[in-house]
């Protein structure tokens, strides 16, 4: 049974979104279901801070020993922060996907896009 946190929002590509103390900035990562399906994560291919992303578009990839999956932007905006420690050693994606395994922070450009994200219950149906 993979873990789903009640205070986050989700995408059907198994990503989570957490609002930060800054109203426009969100933190993004992959879910417990994702990390468990991938196996040991070995590499993250992420764009530079300052890059613009669009909701639903590929912005990078996450690799394990035998697979590679694309990462999709859950919301549109500008990348304002990356988890550099994670890029150095991606193990936290597997051990703590919702905390120290956070991947990016995005300064969102369109509040209306939040309505397209999934609630924890809706995501529970996806992560079967």
């Amino acid at each position: 049974m993979s873990e789903i946190l009640k205070d986050l929002l989700y995408t059907k590509e198994h990503e989570w979104v957490r609002r930060t103390t800054n109203a426009r900035v969100v933190q993004v990562g992959v879910t417990d279901f994702a990390q468990s399906s991938l196996g040991d994560v070995t590499y993250l291919d992420l764009p530079a801070v300052g890059t613009d992303v669009k909701q639903g578009q590929v912005f990078g990839s996450i690799e394990s020993v035998k697979s590679v999956s694309e990462l999709f932007a859950p919301l549109s905006g500008k990348i304002v922060n990356r988890n550099e420690a994670l890029i150095e050693d991606p193990a936290a994606v597997n051990t703590a996907p919702y905390t120290s395994g956070w991947i990016l922070e995005i300064e969102t450009s369109d509040e209306a896009e939040f309505s397209k994200l999934l609630s924890p219950d809706a995501y529970a149906n996806v992560a079967q």
């Binding site: 070995t42 590499y43 690799e63 020993v65 035998k66 697979s67 590679v68």
Partner: protein
């Protein structure tokens, strides 16, 4: 090759496992109308010794195999320690491929790792892959890799004029479908070398890559620094294409000159000329670019018990995982030839490579100097190409002497000598063709003198 017979009992066991009573039962998947009725129309069986005689008489039709050969252009008649032929026939080496199960294949993986390490050292680079098919496809893959690492540059690849025509064709054929243009980086009509100064493209042009082959098709040694400087100036990637692996025993490695990507034709490392193949592609780059590198890669790591272990690594670059976004459609290597090359490099060592390379080169200089003496004072449009040699010498002819060139090759052939390969000379050089003659440690002085005698007539 070992002979592995099946006993009747073993055959029955296999047929039982397949759920059939006899061999004919296995054919039921083949439609009735496609099955041959009766026997094939073959001549009666020969006794074993008669068969051997018959095959030998067929093989002896291949005159070229016994002639004194000075053919080159990427395939060189070098020798190798006989023990390689013995070791390579071990089943473990003969049937090996880059293995997916490290648990079963530590031996093969270690051998490939050692091969990679030696290739990287010889090319002066940080990482080498498990090998590609040949020098030409390695150069092609280098061009594609260069373009991937410079997505904002134009889809143009410059190739030095001195590249083998066959390699150029490979690069052009494969790049054409991917929307690339291959352009010529011209050689100086006097020196027959491509330098930063001889490139006449627009100053603002930012192609994906510049590829320089050395030694070039006329046998001259090019300067790796030229491709490094030119590529840097134009914001492109530099590719060094080492056409003759043994030249690494004498000349500066591409890595030491600061080139971005180094590829090579490895045939000279213990691989027979054969029928023009199989050959061996070497490919090396810097660590920073390793994720864009094509081909298989073996790495050294630790297992769960902290014991040294080898495995195929960075597989996510490859097509069977990354599909259409893979670095290449190659997810294999040229393992058998790579193992021959590994054995050759191991048995020869740096001293051995240097000696063979020096021996080959001294023969080239000997022949060139002898030809120069023969041609001294001639009014005819025939000359010997000047410049730094490795193991090939070019005899240049102008438009009036092309017939003579054909005749002289014919005369050589009548006397059992394959004089060399003909390639076009650069435009505006005053010559139209070059007969490029290769020399190796196998050639005897008497053979060289015979060649000079025929050409000097």
């Amino acid at each position: 090759m070992r002979y592995l017979p099946l006993t009747d009992a073993e055959q029955k066991k296999i047929l039982d496992a397949c759920g059939v009573t006899n061999f004919d039962g296995l054919k039921k998947a083949i439609p009735e109308e496609l099955r041959i009725k009766g026997l094939l129309d073959l001549p009666p069986a020969l006794a074993e010794s008669d068969l051997v005689d018959h095959l030998e008489s067929l093989a002896n039709k291949n005159q070229g195999a016994w002639m004194q050969s000075h053919l080159g252009q990427g395939s060189y008649d070098h020798s190798w320690p006989t023990v390689i032929d013995q070791i390579i026939n071990r089943g473990e080496f003969l049937t090996a491929y880059t293995p997916y199960q490290p648990e079963l294949s530590q031996g093969t993986l270690q051998a490939i790792f050692e091969f990679q390490s030696m290739v990287a050292e010889l090319l002066g680079m940080e990482v080498a892959n498990a090998s590609l098919y040949d020098g030409a496809t390695s150069a092609l893959e280098a061009a594609l890799m260069a373009a991937r690492t410079r997505p904002e540059n134009s889809q143009v690849v410059y190739v030095s004029e001195g590249i083998y025509p066959s390699s150029r064709k490979v690069i052009e054929s494969c790049l054409a479908d991917q929307g690339f243009e291959v352009r010529t980086w011209k050689a100086d009509p006097k020196t027959f070398l491509s330098t930063a100064a001889t490139w006449n493209g627009p100053k603002e042009e930012r192609p994906a890559a510049f590829i320089l082959q050395s030694p070039n098709k006329w046998g001259l040694v090019e300067d790796w620094n030229e491709v490094k400087v030119l590529a840097e100036r134009q914001g492109a990637r530099s590719v060094a294409y080492v056409s003759h692996a043994l030249s690494l025993g004498l000349f500066q490695s591409p890595g030491d000159a600061g080139v971005d990507i180094a590829v090579a034709e490895g045939q000279a490392f213990g691989i027979p000329v054969g029928f023009g193949g199989p050959h061996l592609g070497l490919f090396a780059c810097r660590k920073a670019d390793v994720r864009q590198m094509p081909g298989r890669l073996v790495g050294l790591t630790e297992d769960a018990r902290q014991q040294q272990a080898f495995c195929v690594t960075l597989s996510t670059r490859e097509q069977h995982i990354r599909r259409e976004k893979a670095t290449s459609n190659i997810c294999s290597n040229q393992n058998l030839m790579a193992m021959r090359a590994l054995m050759y490099m191991t048995l020869m060592g740096p001293v051995g490579l240097h000696r063979v390379a020096s021996d080959s080169r001294s023969k080239a200089y000997y022949v060139r100097s002898a030809l120069e003496q023969r041609l001294a004072g001639t009014q005819r449009e025939i000359a010997v190409l000047q410049g730094e040699l490795f193991n090939e010498v070019s005899l240049l002819v102008g438009p009036l002497e092309t017939l003579w060139l054909e005749e002289i090759q014919g005369r050589a052939q009548e006397q059992g000598i394959l004089a060399g390969c003909v390639v076009p000379a650069p435009a505006n050089s005053g010559y139209v063709k070059a007969l490029t003659m290769a020399f190796t440690e196998r050639h005897k002085k008497t053979e060289l003198d015979r060649l000079v005698e025929i050409l000097g007539a």
